[in-house]
Amino acid sequence: MKPSSYQHRAQAAINDPVLQRALANLQQRLGRGAAEGYRRFPEGPELRLKGHAIRMKAIENLDILLDALADKIEKNGGHVHFAADGETAVKRCIEIARRHDVFLAVKGKSMLAEEIGLNPALEAAGIETVETDLGEYIVQLAGEAPSHIIAPAIHKTREAVGRLFADKLGIPYTDDPPTLTLAARRVLRNKFLDADMGISGCNLACAETGHITTVSNEGNIRMATTLPRVHVAFMGMERIVADLKDHAILFRLLSMGAAAQEMAGYVSYIGGPAEQGRTDGPEAFHLIIVDNGRSRILADPDFREMLCCIRCGACLNMCPVYGKIGGHAYGSAYSGPVGAVVTPLLTGISQASDLCLGESLCGACMPACPVNINIPRMLLLLRAKLAEGDASWNVSIRSRAEQAAFTAWSYLIRSRFVYEMFLKGASIGQQLLPGRQNMISRLPFAGKGWTQSRDLRRLAPQSFIQRYRIERASGKKR
């Protein structure tokens, strides 16, 4: 089989020493930090299980929660739009922008906006859209895609950022992070003050009070949602909990999972536009609630659990695969273990099969998850669908040859006699294969992949059973 683009990108990442250092550093810092943080919770690490239960309860009552949220926001003078797919969501946003004469939009980081391709669509509609999270801004200036959920520019060195800023912002070259940050602060402040529209995501809405919440450390989302005339928020339909009590717990779990913090720098609860003539803030507030494949996940009890995900990125910081291949290899908005499950479910299991096949099933993501999502279970299920096919998810069998080989193997190992014959044949046959005395350096045909980066041990002269029989017989004699 030809190497896929996933394999190409993964290989490129592995060969990039800068990225390898950055990934190792990130995992060391955030991955360990979150694990220690979970242990430090006064309620203990079991708080994660409670978080899981809260999220499941919310997902199972999603219809009621969304209705309640929309009622409250509309009562406060906000507008709530429901979009069945990404295209509709983007269209709504452009309509809103047109209605309010928007030329410049400032944007806080939103995974959903990446998922539905908001930026290019807005640009195509003639609306300048500026990313304001420093990492996202760097990535946007460079014309690249973010490579980590909460650290979008980890693949860039300070020297690369220095060159980029010198080139695009016209400042003298420097590789000093505080100076570079200050340069971005100055440019972006003017954008914030001039912008007509602020765009944000939604980390977690609260149905009881009728608020969405946004979380940031830089303050860019506060700027984007306070200064411009119009605020448009994008929310995946699953990002909601029932009440303040649930919210308090989830929110601590989110801060810890995302950045190993007890508390994120800025959290805003937004429940509508500013009260006219009484306070500052945007004149208009629009919330766009997006399905885009989520209801299909909701309808399948096997995968419903995946909707508990709050997109904190904690699983990326523990995943040995993400730690080597980085975010770009996944070729979608979502990378790491979460991407390996969510992307196939949203965009098609067969189309994104590499993502779930590429993960190692080591299980590190589950204890890393602040809401204890059983990602390994779902990875296995996706692989089973690829092996056996599943019409309900529109998955055809990935490889007939592989399926036939495993069917044959299952017959072969069911009879001791046939199996022994096979072993005898194989131990003769293996002498034809190249390699040192005990090792095979290259398998032929479909087995090629097994010896691509390692040697395989040759079959022993005796099988375990044979040896056991002989040893037992000689033991009896003694």
Binding site: L65, R158, T181, N217, A242, G281
Partner: protein, 253 residues
């Protein structure tokens, strides 16, 4: 009437959930509607906290502040507090333009400091937000003042000791931009406004009758430390977009 899109959308979600109970259910069936024993106990504990336990919380706040780069200034009364703020105003440089100016909330605690009198010898004007900004472009004036100011002075609803977190609702006279646009944010609180942890805040918001009546307003913000980023090679830098310094002034008198 509900827009068609919403009805269809919710119906679709209902179908996906494959609900067994088609009967009408509301949010009240899902959430806790009355405080349980733990909530009541916690509310009483907060209400009956004496000076001694408030001072203990202050100690914790000072420790937590160190971890997130928040300066905590403990002041006996409004006068000494104003003197300390004046000292900051004299020492620090303006970031946006040459003229130093201060923007502040129209809030009893802030007004009592008499900042204008303290800062006029330094030639630093203090602009206060209006409680009725609706009249003739007052919001635009406020915005200009907030953009130009190098220090923003606010009060806060509460301050959480465990994480050094300030909480503030949006009310007339208390605009969001004062804690956001200036380079330095100074928040003034009374000792009794310190809570122990996030859970206490949420319990108050959920069950305290005054809080319930007010709601959490159109925008409630939780602020922990000055603006920060670590997006370039994971190096921590303060002052990404919001204030680069944050000081909490605690009045103990």
């Amino acid at each position: 009437m509900r827009p068609h899109g919403r009805v269809e959308f919710i119906k679709h979600v209902k179908r996906a959930l494959n609900r067994d109970d088609p009967g009408i259910r509301s949010l009240d069936d899902i959430i806790q509607c009355l405080p349980d024993a733990d909530d009541t106990r916690l509310l009483e504990k907060i209400a009956n906290r004496g000076k001694k336990s408030h001072l203990a919380l202050l100690e914790r706040l000072i420790e937590a502040g160190k971890l997130v780069n928040v300066g905590i200034m403990v002041e006996k009364d409004a006068d000494t507090a104003a003197a300390s703020i004046s000292k900051i105003a004299a020492e620090k440089c303006a970031e946006w333009g040459d003229q130093k100016s201060v923007v502040a909330w129209d809030h009893l605690l802030v007004k009592r400091l008499g900042l204008s009198a303290h800062l006029s010898p330094l030639d630093i004007p203090v602009y206060f937000a209006d409680r009725q900004p609706g009249t003739a472009g007052r919001l635009e004036v406020l915005r200009r003042h907030a953009e130009g100011a190098f220090i923003g002075v606010t009060a806060a609803d509460y301050c959480i000791a465990e994480t050094a977190t300030l909480t503030m609702k949006t009310l007339p006279g208390q605009p969001r931009s004062v804690s956001l646009l200036p380079s330095i944010h100074i928040a003034v609180i009374r000792l009794e406004q310190i809570l122990s942890n996030l859970n206490e805040l949420y319990t108050l918001l959920k069950w305290n009758p005054t809080e319930r009546a007010e709601g959490i307003t159109r925008c409630m913000t939780l602020i922990t430390g000055p603006s920060k980023t670590a997006d370039i090679e994971a190096t921590l830098v303060h002052g990404a977009h919001g204030p680069r310094e944050l000081t909490i002034v605690v009045l103990t008198g």
